[in-house]
Symmetry: C2
Amino acid sequence: MDLGPLEDFVGFNLRLAQDASFQVFAQHTGEPHLRPGRFASLMVIHRNPGLTQRDLGQAIARDKSSVTPLVKAMEQDGLVERRPSPEDRRSVTLWLTESGEKALQSLLAHAREHDRKLDELVGLERKAEFLRLLKKITAELK
Amino acid sequence: MDLGPLEDFVGFNLRLAQDASFQVFAQHTGEPHLRPGRFASLMVIHRNPGLTQRDLGQAIARDKSSVTPLVKAMEQDGLVERRPSPEDRRSVTLWLTESGEKALQSLLAHAREHDRKLDELVGLERKAEFLRLLKKITAELK
DNA sequence: TATTGTTATACTCTATAACTATA
DNA sequence: TATAGTTATAGAGTATAACAATA
């Protein structure tokens, strides 16, 4: 199907490439509690144990009312533990369980495997430049 | 917020760049009947006037049950006309109205403006290679 | 029997607003 | 007064399944 001028727009091709990449990644993660949407959250909690739900929301750019069900679902699946903050009784602090750490490691393994495929397509000698441009778009586009 | 190993994954950066690009584009289109989600549909109908809803669904990778409300909304907004197919009485053929053509042209103008910003970030001398890699990922990732 | 399109329904993900409890 | 978190609710956007009309 010919899409005319769209075919050579960077923005449009960015979207197609990301869709393809996400779909392939999501397929290979398989298990439901390893859904890619949780990846960033698990990583943020892993690297900032004891952060509050508010902090998490800021890190992943979601409203607090969206964080509540996300965290509850991960708690339900045994990936995250919620403990009252000793400093502020309004706050909840977040910690990965052992199972959460394992889930994160598993997602990371999938991500590495996935990125090996991307590296192959991009080519090692072009990867640094490609990454640089993606980061530039993220950082500077307004 | 430090995301550790994710920071240098191509897939992750693809996602961040596409999010940034989409958000900026969506903001600037403004009006509700020019929502970016309709862009591809308008373009497909523009370039294939008289196609059926089934054809449209295949082109934009959506189930027929998702095409129905999409097309109805665009008809409601006066962008698309639905006519019974003379060849197959089960089918509906799709045509852009004058207003639909105008909406498409307006979206295209926004897209060109948007892509000028992206071109600036990427740099003209690197654009061809960048596009080539994005298309390669779309086409060959499995 | 198979296909086109519609409808009913449901699921995911997101947000806004109103609320409780703290600060 | 302001903030952390919860809940109720709503709106996109998507899909599956059952259906009517037609092939």
